[in-house]
Subunit: 606 residues, 2 copies
């Protein structure tokens, strides 16, 4: 039943050879890998305005230069990351780049930042998607958290089904969103030019308005930088492109840069021209669309595609997180299970872990996007900075032709990203950035512990094939028996077939049972000696452990096997009716003593 259900949800298993077919052309890679970056258009402008509005409506003008600065930063990042793609066709982005060029410590910082960010991407995107829906359909306002969690589960299932199929599903909404927002910007600007809407724009003054401090401006800038999250996804996922991978990835990244700049700048401009202020019940995009189209079909089209792309933006993280986790697992920094490919050739454990973490975050923050975003961008810019820094060191070391220009680009990128990071850390510290400052070192500590563990085991298990051959040893079987019945007969038969020294052990709970059992055994006469012991505390474990120790002491060079007679009921739920002593004995013996455990099953027919 479990298998049937799994097949139905996840699809048929794929063979390992089918892995190569799961590669993406540009038209599909763009929507899959950039929905995160593009969707941040839906909240980037709003985040700037939310900060500025504190200083009064006069301050809103500053959203324009701030948006301009962010677009500039965007182009710098695009240029920088094209160089990463070119140098690292195997993918991995910030983690690989810093691990490779700076060192283990920088690599783990980048890895931790990226894993945290992927999780936050999922949480922030579905939360913002739910906000887009509740803006259009106010009745759902109270169920935003439930909506968000359902979306995470839905995306998880789509991803467990495999990248290819998910790609086709995710391609359309992204294009529909691009068309929707572009139309909105064009119609909006046309309306303003026509004078159709009174442009009650606040005047521009030469000095900062009262209440607007530099601190507030920087904070608005850093909030707006949330629009830049997600652009590293393409460089992380280079190997999922159709060959030639690097060329296709670079082209996709450039395309993303142009699209993102256009949409973000357009929305910021319209928000300014319409003189909009943030409203907790309605997003900025919803306000722009309502003013432009009224509550007509185009309005609902914009809201629907915005919601869709936001929800699917989470999918970007589902390409990135499992791949990064598998690379880190290969590097012995994450548990090995993240390396295992599932039935559909994806890293299913990573997909599931990401979903659980995102749901926990959504529930912990009550689905409140304004509280999640401060956590978000600090990790992104940590990884940006490290990736650029890594590239700088790479150019300095290898010095290929034209390295000076390339170095200049990455060095500028590194410096700018580091400045932005500092602005974040300072202006957002109280709003939650401290949490990330706490979490990332914890991850690094965990990674190093995991690494040491795996390294230690590998050392311990390594074998010299030329000298370390198998060695034989004397053997002794111990068979705990609960009476004389067919289950016991089955096990005794097995022991006799092995032709090894054996002894049966009976543990009596009542003193008088000892003699009774001895007599029964003698009458049966199975050809294996019986030892009887009395357990005043009605436990079988301790007397069995004691007996093992006793036998071990008596036969120093003997290897001991405990053979456990176990009957297997016909239906699994019948186990509820039987004390699971065999299971417990096996578990405790395996941990506490160096004995081999054999389970001799007796399959019941009734």
């Amino acid at each position: 039943m479990y298998t049937t259900l799994k097949r139905w949800i996840i699809g048929k298993p794929l063979k390992s050879e089918q892995l190569k077919e799961e590669k993406l052309p540009i038209w599909k890679a763009l929507p899959i890998l950039s929905s995160d970056a593009l969707s941040s258009v839906a909240y980037g402008t709003e985040q700037i305005l939310t900060v500025l509005v504190v200083a009064g409506s006069m301050a809103l003008w500053y959203s324009l230069p701030i948006s301009g600065a962010i677009v500039g930063l965007l182009f710098l990042l695009i240029l920088s990351y094209r160089q990463v793609i070119d140098q690292y066709p195997g993918g991995g982005g910030a983690y690989i780049v810093s691990m490779d060029n700076i060192g283990w410590f920088a690599g783990t910082i980048a890895g931790a930042s990226l894993l945290v960010d992927y999780t936050l991407t999922v949480a922030v995107s579905v939360t913002a998607g739910a906000a887009a829906i509740t803006s259009a359909v106010p009745i759902l306002h109270d169920h935003a958290v439930l909506l968000s969690v359902s979306f995470v589960l839905l995306i998880m299932i789509l991803n467990l089904r495999g990248l290819r199929e998910s790609g086709t599903i995710f391609a359309f909404p992204t294009y529909m969103f691009i068309i929707g927002i572009l139309s909105l910007i064009l119609v909006g600007i046309f309306n303003v030019l026509k004078g159709g809407i009174p442009a009650n724009v606040p005047p521009v003054t030469s000095h900062l308005p009262e209440g607007l401090t530099w601190f507030l401006l920087l904070r608005a800038f850093s909030s707006g930088c949330s629009a830049l999250t997600g652009i590293e996804a393409i460089s992380n996922a280079t190997p999922t492109f159709r060959p030639p991978e690097t060329k296709h990835a670079a082209r996709t990244l450039a395309l993303l840069g142009v699209l993102l700049a256009t949409l973000f700048a357009g929305v910021s401009l319209l928000a300014y021209l319409y003189h909009l202020t943030p409203d907790p019940k309605q997003t900025i995009i919803s306000q722009i669309a309502e003013q432009t189209f009224g509550r007509t079909i185009p309005y609902y089209y914009v809201q629907a595609t915005t919601a869709l792309i936001l929800i699917l933006a989470a999918n970007t993280a589902y390409s990135g997180f499992p791949l990064l986790a598998s690379i880190m697992a290969k590097d012995k920094l994450m548990p090995r299970m993240f390396m295992t490919r599932g039935d559909r050739l994806n890293f299913s454990n990573g997909i599931i872990a990401l979903s659980i973490a995102a749901i926990v975050l959504i529930l912990a923050f009550g689905g409140d996007i304004d509280r999640l975003i401060p956590l978000y961008a600090i990790g992104v810019f940590t990884s940006f900075t490290l990736a650029q820094l890594g590239m700088v060191r790479r150019w300095l070391k290898h010095k290929p032709t034209g390295w000076r220009t390339k170095l200049a680009i990455n060095a500028t990128g590194a410096v700018v990203c580091f400045i932005v990071l500092m602005i974040f850390a300072i202006t957002k510290f109280h709003e939650g950035a401290w949490l990330i400052v706490l979490v990332i070192p914890m991850f690094i500590l965990l990674f190093s512990q995991i690494y040491r563990h795996y390294q230690g085991i590998a050392d311990e298990l390594r074998l010299d094939r030329s000298t370390e051959k198998p060695v034989t040893q004397d053997q002794l079987l111990i068979i705990p028996v609960g009476g004389v019945n067919r289950v016991v007969r089955n096990t005794i038969s097995y022991a006799k077939s092995l032709e090894v020294e054996a002894v049966a052990l009976y543990i009596a709970f009542e003193k008088e049972d000892q003699e009774k059992m001895k007599n029964k055994w003698a009458e049966w006469d199975p050809g294996i000696p019986l030892e009887v012991t009395y357990s005043p505390y009605r436990s079988v474990i301790q007397p069995l452990l004691d007996f093992v120790d006793q036998m071990k002491a008596r036969n120093k060079n003997c290897q001991i096997t405990v053979l456990i007679p176990q009957f297997i009921p016909r239906r699994w739920w019948h186990n509820l009716l039987h004390n699971q002593t065999a299971l417990m004995i096996r578990f405790i013996l395996l941990w506490k003593r160096d004995v081999v455990i054999g389970t001799v099953p007796f399959h019941l027919k009734k």
Copy 2:
């Protein structure tokens, strides 16, 4: 750590021989076994008044004759149950009596009713105890459910520590409660006689007041019968008395009858004389105590001891439920685990099961006692009726000296209890009695399924000691290996020591791994042949199952053992870092194929 915590909460384990010491003298048995019956004084009168008040204050006079009828019924039950004690010194009450004299079906009905009732006793008592506390301390009114659940957990722990110690703890509150209520009744009646309180008693009329129907009167009577619950506890627990058990138990039962009649009648009388009506925020006992003493120390004494005895009344069920469950488990009607005595010689699984069931009930009914009581008495009177009926059949069969009088008592008891039962079923059906009518048949079905299962297994496992000797068989070992390392070497060494035919199996996930492994194996040359197979779906289970089938087909008469190499980390949480493939293989193989599973541990040192 688990062991230390367990010791601290439960106490040191006791030896089986210490069982006999855990016997009770009368002065201790009375409070332990009768706190349920006595505590029902706290809600019995209130239940009558709650029904009567619907018909107006004129109807309240009828609480007196109703209470009288209930006291009469009480004495009849006491007489009947003394005869049960006399005939069944082994305890078991209604279950044993009806199983023994009427038959399997009646026995299971009685058993189901009793188990349900014990659970309801716990739920009703702690809920009423919480009500007594919130009457005195209104701030706690909103936390009644939390209070109730905490009390259940507390009583569970005390019982897991063992009957003896619990007894000493529970003896004092019962006596303090008896003293408190007796003083209350005496002072109250004295006050009324002195005319200290205006006795604005409604006049007695010769016809039923308007609105008071016979149906309502019968319903009030049946509600009041909740005061009789718990009196069967003593006959169920006869063997826990100090010898001579039956004599001591009978004397305790008589004592209980006198005490219960006095307290119940006294409270009903005072409630009438004070002309009290039920109030959801204050219990009747609280009202009586407040009118008698004012909110002085004696008032709080009465409330505190009422709360205490109510909460501890639940303890009665903790003597009865686990004992009955163990008897029924011995009769193969309940899962075997209820027969196992815990470290402290009590039936710990019964204690835990009862606690869980009671907590579920409390949570399901939101801690509302008025909704729980209708469920309560119907099961009690089912078991009363069956027990009496069983005794009637017993007298008719054995006819000992003086059997006619004894028969008359039990026959009257049976008829009266049956009539009360019918009154219940009719007047309380809509209020929840239907639930019990549904649950009891479900239990009976479950019991019969369990019985058939155990009986079937016993038949299947039975062995003829003179003919069915162990038989030997050819053996083949299959060793799944994941590479050439020390864990594998350890297992191969073991296989070679057994001197049985063996074959190693390597399951490759990548085609090129097959050749590599073959070469490594050849280089190592451990003296056991290697078979290599390729798993395109990256699963080890199915190829292993297939290989087992293949080997089985090739060696028809061979018994197959799968030897699983497993490394055991030094700390249990290290297991999180390793795929639990070995565990899964063992689990699935054991279920799906008739093979012996051997686990050869390699204990890591790091």
